[in-house]
């Protein structure tokens, strides 16, 4: 192809840089004011909202954890009563899994994937806006019900029959189930956007073997969401139906089965762990090379490990159900598959160690959290192999050993890399650096605080302390360790407090970052910090895995996209050869109204089945408003 400047009405080939930037800004910016903000479909704006909201839920969930630690600090404490305690541990788990961990990982994908693949917006940006409003509504439903003392109290996995019509009186279990529907709906929407963005909107030349590892991990995560989430949506909907209209799915007296609930929940619930964990390892594989000044060791094995983990994720769910009395053969199969997951995990660990070994590490805050991750996750992985064994699991099932194990893999395996990622990409998102000094304080307090809080829980578990008890008697041998754990949790909380203070302070008054403060190699660092609404003045062309390292001074780019309408480059799936110029939708308030209509229908349907019928009418109206062309240049081709 040859350069033919100014061929059509207004492309990015003709004018000088300043004029082009002015035109692109005009085309891609959102309107000012409240409704402009509501209507925005810029992936960066929506991702930022998502991340901030998820971090607020993290802080709230942390406060609940502290409340539980105060209650458990000494035997027979009276700080929280049994009913409130049931609500609090249910809220803590549900909130951390569904309102923090999964959404924050997806939000990072929404922010980073379009930038890393070199495109101007995410695929289906209005769906993206819709997804955020739905997520927010689900979060509000849960937390408002908690404020009204009607929060769910059946545990984060809401086992039937405890959550069924016989034992779960009131609307508490319904609120849990419908919160699930909200968050899964929003997660599914994002998953579709990520898959299509990665497969169809990559910069020319970014063939499948040149995709940044974070993008690979998000692609695998999105595929897991697509195949795992329908199970939980079916489960939560049928639970509400059992409770509202008397279906018999989970009632053994009428041919139903309580264990069906567990199968459905864990068929989703185990992949859920990898939905949280895979983005985290993608972050590690992407951040690590920057701080050891060399390309990642073992790109191909790392990609294969991501895919293998994704596939194995669907063959593990029964290891959550070892004590329910399943056939021996099945248990042996699931033990083997649970242990097999250690292979791709091990491959990744060794690739990271090799990268560290062969590089020249620069110990900035993100790298500290990555090393903290490797140490903590290996310990969590080891206890994981232990509980994969049926005889061992039968001993420690439902004890604090399991609580310790999953906090090691979730906080160690996902939150540590997430904090590294926030320190690493904060300059890109806000244009300002976070503090190295506060970051180091935060790291040591969180790292030490985490281990002294959660390691003793292994011992408490081995001593027989069950999960979910609101208090214990003084003659049981758990008092001292519990007091120690509770005091340690204050150290951990202090670390998180400093981390939050650092975010708020740096956002307003951090040192200006510039385009590429870490001298990193991936495309998001080839544009401004924060990036302009159109992401890239010209779409980059890629011919290596580390484009900014192979040509540090010059960025090869394309020309010829229109600047007077929102236009993207569509490329082929495998080789990323340019195929077409496709328009990207304008801002719209309709996704917001569609989310309001959907929320009304979903909440109403807790109370009446007719909500499905009548509540669908406004949803249909808003969807028609959303998709009906308004005569803008973006609506036509």
């Amino acid at each position: 192809m040859t350069i033919e400047p100014g061929r059509s009405a207004a492309t990015d080939a003709g004018p000088n840089e300043a004029e082009l930037e002015r035109r692109l800004t005009q085309t891609w910016s959102s309107q000012r004011g409240f409704w402009g903000a509501v209507a925005s479909v810029d992936h960066k704006v929506i991702a930022r909202r998502y991340i901030v909201t998820a971090l607020v839920f993290l802080a709230l969930g942390g406060l609940l954890a502290l409340a539980m630690r105060i209650q458990l600090a000494r035997p027979e404490a009276r700080f929280i009563d049994a009913d409130r305690y049931n609500q609090i541990f249910t809220m803590h788990g549900s909130n951390m899994m569904f309102l923090f961990a999964v959404p924050v990982m997806e939000a990072m994908a929404v922010y980073l994937v379009p930038l890393m693949v070199g495109t101007r917006n995410i695929a289906f940006p209005r769906l993206n806006a819709f997804s955020y409003w739905i997520f927010l509504a689900g979060g509000l439903l849960l937390w408002i019900s908690f404020a009204l003392d009607t929060a769910p109290d059946v545990g984060w996995f809401a086992y039937a029959p405890l959550s069924g019509p016989e034992y779960g009186a009131g609307k508490r279990a319904d609120i849990w189930a419908q919160m699930i529907t909200f968050t899964e709906l929003s997660a599914l929407a994002i998953a579709v956007e990520i898959v299509v963005t990665v497969l169809k909107q990559r910069a020319p030349g970014m063939s499948l073997d040149r995709i940044p590892l974070l993008v690979w991990s998000m692609l695998v995560m999105a595929s897991l969401v697509i195949m795992a989430m329908p199970a939980i949506m079916f489960a939560s909907s049928t639970l509400i139906m059992d409770r509202l209209v008397g279906t018999q799915f989970y009632n053994p007296a009428e041919g139903g089965d309580a264990l069906l609930w567990q199968h459905l929940f864990w068929f989703f619930g185990h992949p859920e762990v990898y939905i949280i964990f895979l983005p985290a390892v993608g972050m590690v594989s992407t951040i690590l090379p920057t701080f050891v000044r060399r390309p990642i060791f073992g790109y191909l094995p790392l990609v294969m490990a991501l895919i293998a983990t994704g596939v194995l994720a669907f063959g593990l769910w029964v290891h959550h159900m070892f004590v329910v009395g399943l056939p021996r053969l099945g248990e042996s199969f699931f033990t083997a598959s649970s242990m097999a997951i250690a292979i791709p995990a091990g491959i990744q660990i060794f690739c990271w160690l090799a990268t560290l070994w062969a590089g020249r590490p620069v110990f900035k805050v993100p790298l500290l959290f990555l090393i903290g991750f490797i140490v903590t996750f290996v310990i969590g992985g080891l206890t994981g192999v232990m509980v994969a064994s049926v005889p061992f699991d039968s001993q420690v099932h439902d004890t604090y050993f399991v609580v310790a194990h999953f906090h090691y893999v979730l906080i160690g395996g996902a939150v540590f890399p997430l904090i590294a990622a926030i320190y690493y990409w904060f300059p890109k998102m806000t244009g300002r650096m976070m503090s190295e000094r506060l970051g180091r304080w935060a790291f040591w307090l969180i790292f030490i605080g985490f281990h002294v809080t959660f390691f003793p829980m292994h011992i408490l578990g081995l001593q027989g302390m069950p999960r979910r008890i609101y208090t214990y008697q003084p003659d049981l041998p758990w008092g001292t360790l519990n007091l120690f754990v509770s005091l340690s949790s204050v150290v951990l909380s202090l670390g998180f407090l400093i981390f939050f203070i650092d975010i708020i302070r740096s956002w307003s008054s951090g040192r200006p970052a510039g385009e590429n403060p870490w001298n990193a190699s991936t495309l998001e660092w080839a544009t401004g910090s924060p990036p302009p609404p159109y992401n890239f003045r010209a779409i980059p062309v890629v011919d290596t895995r580390d484009p900014l390292w192979s040509q540090p001074d010059e960025l090869p780019v394309t020309s010829g996209l229109r600047s007077d309408r929102r236009e993207l480059l569509i490329s082929s799936v495998v080789e990323a050869l340019p195929e077409a110029r496709e328009s990207s939708p304008q801002d719209s308030v309709w996704p917001f109204w569609a989310a309001i209509a959907t929320s009304i229908m979903l909440i109403w349907s807790i109370f009446s089945p007719w909500a499905i019928v009548w509540g669908s009418v406004p949803i249909a109206v808003t969807l028609i408003g959303w998709f009906w062309p308004k005569g803008a240049a973006e609506d036509e081709s």
């Binding site: 169809k200 049928t238 081709s637």
Partner: protein
């Protein structure tokens, strides 16, 4: 950073068609979501059946006529659906309009038979787990038909409006046709589950 232009994309088409189109991939992703859902529903049906001493639980097998007529009708609708898709590929506005009207009827007619399928089960949703799963399967598939019907109706109105004659709209028509094929194909194993598995 200094930019060096090495590739001009201004001559590329303004709309990606067929498998090159992001909308096609989006539609496939949604079909995968729903396909996983329907696969799961079938697994649950078989799971509940494996637990029950008799299947169906306290009910005769469902009457065949309504479900079988609906199945025949859905299968027949595949032919005009292929036509519409072809006409959209040829960007033949007149025929696409005609085809969408035809497909709207193809979406409505099965609903009449669906109304008779529920009583033909001879069981209520709250009688037993058998009733619950069969009503749920029929309900989900009814929603499936309804969703595509509304989409077809709106698209038909759109094609009669001034926005109709546009490459992007023809792409929408093709994706809508693809989705209808999916509605028909997913019904076949569900039909087998509801009507024939209890007779085995």
């Amino acid at each position: 950073m200094k930019e060096r232009m090495i590739l001009d994309v201004s001559r590329l088409p303004l709309h990606a068609t067929g498998t090159a189109s992001p909308t096609w991939w989006g539609t496939c992703a949604f079909m995968l979501i729903e396909g996983s859902g329907f696969g799961l529903v079938i697994a649950i049906y078989l799971y509940l059946m494996s637990l029950a001493p008799h299947w169906p639980i306290d009910a005769p097998p469902a009457d065949l006529w309504a479900g079988t007529s609906l199945t025949a009708m859905l299968l027949a609708s595949v032919v005009p659906n292929i036509w519409v898709s072809r006409w959209a590929q040829q960007r033949n506005l007149k025929k696409v309009r005609l085809g969408l009207v035809l497909m709207s009827f193809c979406g409505m007619a099965p609903l009449v038979f669906r109304a008779f399928e529920f009583p033909a089960l001879h069981v209520r949703w709250d009688d037993s787990a058998y009733g619950s799963i069969t009503w749920t399967i029929l309900g989900l598939h009814t929603v499936h038909i309804l969703t595509d019907l509304v989409d077809t109706l709106v698209l038909a109105c759109l094609m009669f409006s001034r926005h109709g004659d546009n490459a992007r709209r023809y792409g929408d028509v093709e994706d809508n046709a693809l989705y209808w094929h999916f509605v028909v194909i997913t019904w076949l194993p569900l039909y087998a589950c509801i009507y024939w598995v209890p007779r085995l």
